[in-house]
Amino acid sequence: MKKILFSALSAVSLLFVQGCWTSVMDVDGAADGTSTVNFKNSPVDIKVLDTRSRFVNGLLQVNLELESGYSNPYRLEYKFSWYDSGGMEVDPARSAWIPFYLNGRETKTIQGLAPNPSAKAFKIKFREADKQ
């Protein structure tokens, strides 16, 4: 009985603490299309199926194909950050979190365009919308 009480109290405590935390998954990429998925232990359950990039009129354009790991509808948010050849962030804090919606196991493409020609690399952060 006491064990159950302790477990229940601990579980409730954890729930409250976790409810306040935000965890993100991010993808680092370069202009040549190579990319790395970081924080694989994040609760964000999506697969990055494909990453492509190209320059359009000198601006780095990125295309990501994603697949939901859930069989239910999934609300996420993503945000692009851009970096110059020296690794400095281009126009930091200007890009907004963009909500997007995936149906169960759906595959969807998201696109981003660098704010100016100095951007040569990118990072995309993902987080679950309902946790915000």
Partner: protein
């Protein structure tokens, strides 16, 4: 004796867990004033909010900058654009100037366009008049009237809303349409739409 120690241990453990729970509750629920993330996407109502503005500006700028005829147009020069006021067809009071300001800032910072600004004409005229008439300025450096460049293009836009509701659901659909019009020829060189749907459920 042993019983007393056991009871004390349990009381201590219970106090520890309860304390943790209270700390977690207080940290999550106590009313505080804090700085928020200006780029947050969390919707508070079905009204047109800050993230809707950011999404719309982002989408329009990305679309325009990657549209092949616009890419061709900006390959070797920076065309001059004037941004007109948004035609707000919604039932809400929306600071549409803020939306067009964001679009203009993003386009300007892309390095592909230059802009004229009719909204600051009054101040510009006052400044040039002061330079010419106050007697304070070196006449060789005074700005003359009639020297400004004219816009070649104008960005025109509409924001409309369709609202549906029943007892449990409010469903609001927004559509922002923007076009780039050539002032000389009257031809629309680019146009795109951004749709946003916000649903409030009881």
């Amino acid at each position: 004796m042993e019983l007393t120690i056991m009871i004390k241990k349990r009381v201590f453990l219970l106090t520890l867990i309860s304390g943790g729970l209270v700390a977690a509750l207080v940290s999550c629920s106590s009313p505080t004033v804090k700085y928020g993330d200006p780029t947050s996407a969390k919707p508070i109502s079905t009204d047109f909010g800050s993230n809707d503005l950011q999404q719309t500006a982002n989408s329009m700028v990305n679309s325009m900058l990657t549209f092949p005829p616009v890419v061709e147009l900006t390959r070797n020069r920076r065309p001059i654009i004037e941004v007109s006021k948004v035609n707000n067809k919604t039932m809400q009071h929306i600071d549409t100037q803020s939306l067009t300001d964001s679009i203009r800032t993003k386009l300007l910072r892309s390095g592909k366009f230059r802009f004229t600004d009719r909204s600051s004409d009054k101040q510009t005229i006052e400044e040039i008049r002061a330079q010419q008439e106050s007697g304070l300025n070196d006449q060789n450096t005074v700005t003359q009237f009639g020297q400004q460049y004219s816009a070649e293009f104008i960005l025109v836009s509409n924001l409309s809303e369709i609202k549906q509701r029943n007892e449990d659901v409010i469903d609001v659909y927004y559509k922002f349409t923007m076009s780039l019009k050539n002032l000389k020829t009257g031809i629309l060189e680019w146009s795109d739409e951004q749709e946003i749907r916000k649903i409030k459920e009881r």
